[in-house]
Every structure is written in structure tokens, then in C-alpha cells.
Symmetry: C2
Subunit: 145 residues, 2 copies
């Protein structure tokens, strides 16, 4: 598996996945966004082995998506907060959620509502230049020169 000691490839998708490319990392970001910022809260929510959780938290911190913040001096206790980079990943999680709802959505699912309109959010990836959903217009792939 590629890590940052290897030569960086030219694909931005892989560059993203190098930083947050597995299910646990993404679920940790999701949970922190929902307010589960403490180690024990994450461990309980995810039913994850402590060594795996610790490793993922360290990797996400190294990758700049979360940072430790001390919320108690005595006893010393840290929580994990999203950085700007971590917050910028959340819309991708909502897009994955929309895909999961469509293709693996049996039963009752949680959802996000727009707080102002009360409508269920419908995440879709568009090209900001045209507003058209990605996939609805032909694209051309270009390698760097």
C-alpha cells in the first residue's frame, strides 16, 4: 500500500485516498462531526479494537484531518477535533451516504435535513463551473505535462 514515503503519483484521487483511504478513518471523521470527540465515545460507537482506533487517530492527525485538544487539565484528557481539511472531507462522506442509500439502503436509515428548509438533503457531486452533475457531460482525462 502506498504511503507518503513513496514517490507521489500524479492522480489526485490517489492523493486523497493516501490521506483517508479506509472505512475506519472515514467513520471516525463521521463520528467526530456528530460530536463523538472523545476516545471512549469513538471506541463505543465504532466497536473498534483500541489498537486500531489509536492507529487510525494517529494517522488522521498526521494527515492533518484531526487535531488533539485538551479539554481537561486534571486529569489530563484530550478530545479530537476536525481541522479545516477534515471538515472539507465531510461533503464526500455525505455523497458516499447518498450512494449507500441508493445501492445498499434496505430498512430505515438516518438522514440529514437542511436546518432552514427542513427538507432532506440530496447530496450530488457537480462541476462548479457548469452546475451539471459529474457524469452527465463528457469529460476528458489529461495527464500532467
Amino acid at each position: 500500500m502506498t504511503d507518503e514515503k513513496e514517490i507521489l503519483g500524479t492522480c489526485p484521487v490517489d492523493r486523497g485516498l493516501m490521506r483517508v483511504g479506509d472505512r475506519w478513518s472515514m467513520l471516525i471523521l463521521r463520528d467526530i462531526e456528530r460530536g463523538l470527540t472523545r476516545y471512549e465515545q469513538l471506541r463505543t460507537s465504532l466497536s473498534i479494537a483500541p489498537n486500531i482506533l489509536s492507529r487510525r487517530l494517529a494517522a488522521l492527525a498526521d494527515a492533518g484531518l484531526i487535531e488533539k485538544s485538551r479539554y481537561s487539565q486534571r486529569p489530563p484528557r484530550d478530545e479530537y477535533l476536525l481541522t479545516d481539511a477534515g471538515r472539507d472531507f465531510l461533503p464526500i462522506l455525505l455523497a458516499i451516504g447518498a450512494w449507500g442509500r441508493k445501492y445498499n439502503g434496505a430498512g430505515a436509515l438516518s438522514r440529514h435535513l437542511d436546518a432552514a428548509t427542513g427538507k432532506v438533503v440530496r447530496p450530488v457531486v457537480v462541476d462548479a463551473n457548469t452546475g451539471a452533475p459529474i457524469g452527465s457531460r463528457p469529460l476528458r482525462f489529461e495527464l500532467p505535462e
Copy 2:
């Protein structure tokens, strides 16, 4: 790690990640979309161990994102094509690419252009109801009843 024999949770993000929740699976989808549809092409492009590639291809086929298609009868040879579910995941990969470009984008990177306008695509996740980027308006999270 959750698999489909476990009880399905109520989170659509996790439902999506159950189907395609690791870096290799996402890179395989990316490569197939770029026309690398044959086993050897994928193996070379990804520098991936054959047993891992075979396992990921089987999992993606089980999950309904790709399907085998026989392109030669003699000798028998298969390639892998995206299903509708697999194609629907591609916009998410472009969103991950936009994130990767922003936060891990040193050096020259490949890119997608809109074939008609020639402009570089700027993938962004919006709420289809309002057109507003996800993250720009307050959302309310709701568990199923």
C-alpha cells in the same frame, strides 16, 4: 470490520463504505473507468499483489459495482466493466480527487476537463434541492424512527 452478514446499521455512509470502503477498491474503479478493464492491466497499473487484486475484484463484483464480461472465447478471457452502481460511484472519486488536489497536491497532477468547454472540472458536493455546497448551510441529523 463489518461485512454483510452482520446486522445492517442505520447510517447510509457506512452502508456505502460496506460496499466500497478501501483504497484498492476505489482505485480499481478509477482504473476501469479509464479503460484498464483487464486483469493484467489493473495489476500493472496498481502494482498490486495478484491475490489482493483478485479478492478486491471478487468483492466489487459481489457488491454489484463491476461485472465480468467475456471478450475472447478462445482462449477464454474476461474483462471487468462498471455496472450502473459502479458508474454512480465515479463522481465520488472525483470529489476525493478535488480534496486530494487541495490537501495533498504537491507537484503536477492529472485532471479532468469538460470535453465541451475545455475547462478544468471543479467537483463539489452540493445539495440538489438548493444547489448550495454541503457544509455551507446548517444541517440537522436525524436518526430513523
